[in-house]
Amino acid sequence: MRNELRKFIIDNFLFGRDSVGFSDDDSFLEKSLIDSSGVLELVGFLEETYDIAVRDHELVPENLDSINKLLRYLAMKSTEDKEDRLAARAVS
């Protein structure tokens, strides 16, 4: 997943020019990797690749602004999904 996310950032926002270099903790905003349309592209990628729905209140830099933040966010979404499924089973 980490490599997949890095590849998406490098392909889409650096156009393959990975010599620019960024660590897993580097802020996409501070590194000027991402702009307003970039956020939308990133969300589209996450939803399509990981089959999740990014909710409006989750559209914040705290969730999306570095590789490590993305990994934490995706892990949280995965847990949330499991809990949702369990809750749905309990109700049914």
């Binding site: 889409n12 650096l14 156009f15 020019r17 307003s36 409006d56 559209l59």
Partner: protein
């Protein structure tokens, strides 16, 4: 308007008319009605004429009656009637009705200081055979283009760069620093051009060549000294300012209607062009024609507003409707005119519009350009005001909420969460004290396009700082001006001549032999506007407040109250149809051509192309990158590899 070219040899050789003819031939689109060439010993002047004033006797190059002075002139001196009367009272005698002859006589009276008395738009060269001096001048805002270079014992000048490149041996090479500046500021920093060794004569400057010495001298500049946002005019003072501004604008429009041919107007449906059309209507008894651009794409279209103004003023409306395909099709022809890379496609619809003007038998149009710079209309001013307001209280939760009012037409931005909006427009203490505060977000975003530069170009630019040349270009007192005025100056001195009046103005209009005139750029209007407190230009967040107050009785109320919609056009998607790039895009962006030009990285360009083919390039940055890369490659193809447009 017309096209001019000329040369002065330093090496004692005679000026060869056979070298001048190819130069003037390159700008025949600027003057299809006739060509004249004059040579005298080591000096040659050439002229391509577009007949607007004094059809019978205004041919050029023209002499002063004694043959001591000769001139080649492109443009208009709108106050030539008043100057002529003054000169006649002083004993001058005239052989023509033209403004050209007035320039010569004013030069006889005042020498190089004659330009202070001109109200107009011009670039000209006077050969003073008695002083053995060549004197060049360009108008205050750079409406008319004028380029020069020195090569192989000769000083060369012309309206367009292509004329200079037609002179034998003039090097054809991209100026990498000029290119770096375009990919930062959207324009080169004058006098630099994007061609190595070729300079533009800066707006508000004159130039003399005596012997082999070339000297430039500034004769005018905008000055915001003593203007402060702190002043709060009373209601009566406000009304007085609005009345005076309207009076000046009316007179500026009146003298800009002087011509021996019919004068029309561009009508966008916004405040500026509507007001100019209304003022034109007041002074013109003849039926008035307006010309507008409409877009198939509703996101950009202002047809409803144009119709409303047209009905209100009772003018005859003509409109050209542009599609993405139209823009993609004319783009190479537009680059042949702009002679520099551009990052937006907006000049293309205006190129098509000037064709419509010409088809209707018109040669002259008035436009509303210059208003946003002089009177505070651009969104960048609003953005800077909000960011500065927030920066003063960075912990405020309420102040950054104003960011949501920025750029209502940019959907990508409107879809952002408040925390992302704050992140995009974040203000640091360091930025607040930066003299370019207003423009930093735009320039930083644009600079990101340099990721496409080749490794070689990036390496050669290491250590170059585009901001240093900009600092040196600015007047010394700039740094003490009110922040709003500084932002206005950056727009007026950099982007106005470097893009709005050139790539989006004169060059695409003159491609179809159409002259554009700008009432907001009358220096009396500009100087008065500079003295107006910023609080009346943008009252809280109401842009061009004082102009709206002037206009309210002259145009429909709904137009006067409209929030500014900047003129925009469909961007780089115009280069593609159903995921396939146009042939010229495929060719100029092929890895082989990219490698040969050496400016961009072939793999990165292919990656960007892929994004567009898939339809996933949705942002401003990707669009600017594609337009910038295609236009740069076309400049290389059209001016360095060969001369001309490949159709």
């Amino acid at each position: 308007m017309c096209g001019i070219a000329g040369l002065m040899r330093f090496d004692g050789a005679s000026a060869d008319p056979d070298l001048l003819r190819p130069m003037i031939q390159m700008v025949r689109h600027r003057g299809p009605d006739g060509v004249g060439v004059f040579t005298n010993q080591n000096v040659g002047l050439a002229h391509a004429r577009l007949v607007i004033v004094d059809p019978a006797s205004g041919d050029q190059p023209m002499h002063d009656g004694t043959r001591r002075l000769w001139i080649t002139f492109n443009g208009e001196i709108f106050n030539h009637i008043e100057l002529r009367d003054q000169l006649i009272r002083k004993g001058h005698r005239f052989n023509t009705r033209s403004d050209t002859e007035v320039i010569l006589h004013q030069y006889q009276e005042k020498g190089v200081d004659c330009v202070h008395d001109f109200n107009g738009q011009w670039s000209f060269a006077i050969w003073d055979s008695e002083r053995q001096m060549l004197f060049l001048s360009r108008d205050r805002f750079g409406v008319q283009p004028l380029f020069y270079t020195a090569h192989n014992g000769a000083f060369l000048f012309a309206s367009e760069i292509k004329s200079l490149l037609a002179y034998p041996g003039v090097p054809r090479e991209i100026d990498r620093i000029g290119l770096d500046q375009i990919f930062t500021f959207w324009s080169t920093v004058p006098p630099r051009s994007v061609f190595k060794g070729i300079q533009e004569l800066q707006p508000g400057y004159s130039l003399t060549v005596e012997g082999s010495e070339i000297k430039t001298q500034r004769y005018w500049q905008l000055d915001y000294s003593g203007v402060s946002d702190g002043s709060r005019p009373t209601e009566a003072e406000e009304q007085s300012i609005a009345d005076r501004l309207l009076e000046l604008l009316a007179d500026s429009t009146r003298i800009r209607l002087r011509a021996d041919v019919a004068v029309g107007a561009y009508l966008s449906g916004g405040l500026d062009s509507s007001l100019i059309s209304a003022l034109t209507r007041q002074f013109s008894s003849a039926e008035m024609k307006t010309f507008s651009v409409g877009f198939e794409d509703a996101e950009f279209d202002e047809t409803a507003h144009q119709e409303e103004v047209g009905r209100f003023l009772g003018v005859e409306r003509h409109q050209v409707r542009c599609t993405d395909q139209d823009i993609g099709q004319v783009f190479p022809n537009v680059i042949w005119q702009t002679e520099k890379p551009i990052l937006r496609t907006a000049p293309c619809p205006l190129y098509i519009l000037s064709g419509l003007v010409r088809e209707n038998g018109y040669k002259v149009v008035l436009t509303g350009e210059g208003s946003d710079e002089m009177l505070g209309g651009y969104d960048i001013f609003k953005e800077a005001k909000i960011r500065r307001f927030w920066g003063a209280q960075p912990d405020s939760r309420v102040r950054p909420m104003l960011l949501a009012r920025l750029y209502p037409y940019q959907l990508n931005l409107q879809m952002q969460s408040p925390s992302y909006l704050q992140a995009f427009f974040r203000v640091t203490e360091e930025d607040l004290s930066n003299a370019f505060f207003s423009h930093l977000p735009r320039w930083r975003l644009t600079s990101r396009l340099k990721i496409f530069f080749s490794d070689e170009l990036q390496a050669s630019l290491r250590g170059e700082d585009p901001y240093k040349e900009l600092e040196a270009f600015l007047p010394k007192n700039y740094f003490g001006w009110d922040p709003f005025c500084r932002a206005q100056y950056l727009e007026s001195a950099l982007l106005l001549p470097g893009y709005i009046l050139s790539s989006q103005g004169d060059r695409v209009a003159m491609a179809h032999s159409v002259e554009t005139r700008f009432p907001f750029l009358d220096h009396r209007v500009a100087q008065f506007a500079a003295s107006i407190p910023p609080s009346l230009k943008m009252k809280v967040l109401n842009e061009k407040y004082i102009l709206k107050r002037c206009a309210q009785r002259l145009i429909p109320g709904s137009i006067a109250r409209r929030t500014k919609q900047p003129y925009r056009a469909p961007e780089a998607k115009s280069f593609f149809t159903a995921g396939k790039a146009r042939d010229y895009v495929e060719e100029t962006l092929s890895p082989a051509r990219i490698r040969k030009a050496g400016i961009f990285d072939p793999a990165a360009v292919q990656s960007l192309l892929g994004k567009f083919r898939q339809g996933t390039a949705i942002g401003i940055k990707d669009n600017m990158a594609m337009t910038g890369i295609v236009s740069t490659q076309l400049v290389v193809d059209q001016f360095i590899e060969r001369m001309g447009v490949q159709t």
